[in-house]
């Protein structure tokens, strides 16, 4: 930039000052992942091939033929292009004139939006990792992925214009095979339990899980059963070695058959399962648990977030994160009095930074919150919490160990 340019510098200062006042709300990454995850899971069941990443594009030509054999006639009646439009939490960009949908809508994670009738859409079955799951995931021609309108298509050859490095200009070289063909990964929100002043509550972590044949729900449930959260304050509620025997979908209900019941906290364990399954696919409303084929209770929907979720979540930074020195974004969700969320950064047990912010909604709503803190290199514990309205005692702390480089 030309610094002998006083007018330019003046404009730069104005834009910086304006920009500094723009503070993104909390949980942006969660919102994005929630939508990419769901889209994956929907497409996965219609078109398993779309889950394949570049690493498995080897099968290009054979893909088309194999694809049609994987899907029954009923499933092929549904145009794949119709799937993204079924996302209720995706306001179209043209709706941006309406006030503040992003910051005020509760995340679908914690408060599923009521669904319109979906009776016309046939729902194939999540087959789990066994049985009908294809051993090889074919790849559709890439042109089959319609870009959202108004975007430069990532793969489109741009009109020639000088100096224009549009995405996809260079055709990708032949793909490399670094992953087993049928397996890919998806990032899913998995729920775990953590202790709070109100007893055990649920917390969410995003986990990259291997997915076989597009069975994302199965992969998420297996990850949940494994019970190995990053955050050492969390734990799973299911016994080690519990296996998924089968997962079936029927309408907006999913039946999950497990090899054993939860050893304790059965109600919260069921909610852990329900929240995890419904986070993968928000079309799902209820989960029927079976143990070795025998139904346990009635189909269960998500219990109100005020009853089961940790009142304060610190979703970013994540446990064990290594961040660049400088401004660090803190994000989370909370159900707290007047939306007041406090945070602290500790080094060697001493509070070195602290602050508070207001969530987009106060209790009983679940609001998103965010704040920033400037950190120099070092190891820290970040803690988000609230103070009791009655006696001022700290409550509901969610802590993460992080490193700043």
């Amino acid at each position: 930039m030309n610094h002998d340019d006083p007018l330019g510098d003046a404009l730069r200062r104005v834009l910086r000052a304006e920009a500094d006042e723009v503070q993104p709300g909390g949980d942006g990454l969660g919102r994005i992942r929630e939508r990419t995850g769901r889209r994956r899971s929907l497409l996965a069941r219609f078109r398993p091939a779309l889950l394949a990443t570049a690493t498995v594009a080897v099968l290009g030509v054979a893909g088309g033929a194999a694809y049609s054999t994987l899907l029954g006639d009923e499933q092929r009646l549904v145009p794949p292009a119709a799937t993204p439009t079924s996302e209720p939490a995706t306001p179209s960009p043209s709706a941006t004139a309406t006030p503040a949908p992003t910051a005020t809508d509760p995340s679908p994670f914690v408060s599923p939006t009521p669904r319109a009738t979906r009776g016309v859409r046939p729902r194939p079955t999540d087959t789990g990792t066994k049985g009908a799951a294809p051993t090889v995931t074919p790849t559709l021609p890439e042109a089959a992925t319609p870009p959202p309108p108004g975007d430069p298509a990532p793969g489109e050859t741009p009109p020639p214009s000088p100096g224009d490095p549009a995405p996809g200009e260079t055709p990708p070289p032949s793909p490399t095979a670094t992953a087993p063909p049928a397996s890919t990964t998806a990032t899913v929100g998995v729920y775990y339990a953590g202790d709070t002043e109100r007893g055990l509550r649920l917390y969410r972590e995003f986990r990259a899980v291997p997915v076989m044949g597009g069975a994302v729900i199965t992969a998420a449930v297996e990850e949940m059963l494994r019970g190995t959260p990053e955050d050492p304050d969390y734990r799973g509620l299911w016994a080690a070695g519990t296996r998924v025997l089968g997962i079936d979908m029927d309408g907006d209900g999913v039946t999950v058959d497990l090899s054993q019941a939860a050893p304790a906290d059965a109600e919260l364990a069921l909610q852990q399962l329900v929240y995890t399954v419904t986070a993968v696919d928000t079309d799902v409303r209820t989960v029927q648990l079976r143990v070795n084929g025998t139904p346990v209770g009635e189909p269960a929907a998500r219990a109100p977030h005020t009853d089961v979720l940790g009142p304060v979540w610190l979703t970013a930074p994540v446990e064990g994160a290594t961040l660049l020195a400088g401004r660090v974004q803190l994000e989370g969700l909370a159900t707290v009095f007047e939306g007041t969320v406090s945070w602290q950064v500790l080094r060697d047990g001493e509070v070195v930074e602290e602050g508070f912010t207001t969530a987009s909604e106060g209790a009983p709503g679940r609001g998103t919150w965010s704040d920033t803190v400037d950190l120099e290199p070092g190891s820290y514990v970040v803690r988000a919490l609230t103070y009791s309205a009655e006696d001022g005692s700290p409550q509901f702390a969610d802590t993460k160990q992080i490193t700043v480089d």
Binding site: L7, L11, R12, V14, P24, A97, S161, D164, Q329
Partner: protein, 170 residues
């Protein structure tokens, strides 16, 4: 986090979000004057990038794609809103806060108002150059126009803002 070409779509999403989400939201908010709408635009762009990662594959290309998508979508959001506002003129959704720092809030508002009166391309070029600090080539790529056009939009835009900018304390 280190930039790597071997990422899968989720890894790319995580890394690019950490590095660029806030600055992209701010860029869009400068164009849109509405933080919530800007966030939505940027989230949509990240989702599109995630879907197109197989084709993008490189962080640099993905970032260029994100910028281009954010600008396109900001533009259409603005177009849509100007239609709405014509019928129901509203106050500024993001009024500057009291803590305006070195620059007077009033003077800043004048510059921002003058910026908003500029033709779309000129405004975009100025925001990309003076907020995002992009090179002429990167601006050309993001807007799909030639470098010559970048130059002429920038100079016309600055000429139009000259009177307002000269009033600022330096």
């Amino acid at each position: 986090m280190e930039l790597s070409a071997s990422w899968d779509a989720d890894e790319a999403l995580t890394a690019l979000y950490a590095a660029h989400y806030r600055s992209l939201v701010r860029m869009s908010a400068l164009l849109l004057r509405d933080t919530d709408a800007a966030e939505e635009v940027v989230q949509d762009a990240f989702i599109a990038m995630h879907g197109g990662w197989r084709r993008l594959r490189e962080p640099d290309r993905a970032l260029a794609y994100l910028r281009q998508t954010v600008i396109n979508r900001s533009r259409s959001a603005l177009r849509h809103r100007s239609v709405v506002e014509r019928h129901a003129p509203a106050g500024s959704p993001d009024a500057p806060s009291a803590e305006a720092g070195a620059l007077g809030a009033l003077e800043r508002q004048e510059v921002m108002a003058a910026l908003r009166r500029l033709p779309t391309r000129q405004r975009e070029v100025l925001v990309l150059r003076y907020y995002s600090d992009l090179s002429e080539a990167d601006i050309a790529a993001a807007l799909k126009i030639s470098r010559g056009a970048v130059k002429s939009h920038a100079s016309r835009g600055m000429t139009a803002l000259r009177a307002t900018l000269e009033q600022l304390p330096s």
